[in-house]
Amino acid sequence: MSTLTHRKERTTAPTQTQAWSIPRAHIREEAEGYLLLLEMPGVAKEGVEITVENQELTIVGHRSDANLKGEPLHRESRPHDYRRVFDLDPAIDTGRITAKIEHGVATLRLPKAEKVKPRKIVVSD
């Protein structure tokens, strides 16, 4: 259970009353590390907050899209900002995490620390 960016179920922080939307996620492992994609439509670059603390990765996305003008006829969207928390694999080098957001999808690269990458040891003569 100590591996991967495993989600800790905490959609609403216990000390807060604010409601959050849970962004849909895609997580995959590549040779160099993990790739985490989060769907956060309405969030611009300035609206993304990423923090790492105690092997816990928190991603918050503040929406900057305005509500539609006029009287509502049909509504499916939720106005809340996004938030999701993941437990980090200790193998992840938290100092080298990078992030970008494009078309409302945030992409985080979580590289593995050099020391945990499988390696070949050459036997010397």
């Binding site: 591996t3 439509p41 539609l68 003008k69 009287e71 509502p72 049909h74 499916e76 694999d89 409302g104």
Partner: protein, 154 residues
Amino acid sequence: MNIIRYQEPELSSSPFGRLESLREEVNRLLENPFFGLNRSGGLVSGWNPVVDVTQDKDFVYIKAELPGLKKEEIDLSLHEGVLTIAGERQREHQQEGEKVYREERTFGRFQRSIALPIAVNSDAIKAAYRDGILTIELPKAEEAKPKQIEVNLS
């Protein structure tokens, strides 16, 4: 004894991992009771983007969440008072040696059709796309707007 600490990721096989993902699915269902249902009520595996519609005196406004799509990948059409938003979200090509741990995103073709509440001036529709959100402004047709009739009482 371990010389190099290497942990085999086990999320997909661990019973805790499975329980955890089941719990998440349930939470997601509770959060949005219509998740996984299309408008006709059947279960669909495809993508059904979120849409809002509002209106004021002069316009009908539509907003659709299309995260991950490029502007060029969105098709908009208006036919007999029905506005259709369509497109396709491509799944990324998977490379060898990759392991997918979690896939909550949906891919493939989508189409949402919205019957407009009133006739609109189709030559003056404006659409903008930003941060995965499509917004459309449709001016109501003059002849469809309610009119004030002045009655002169003498």
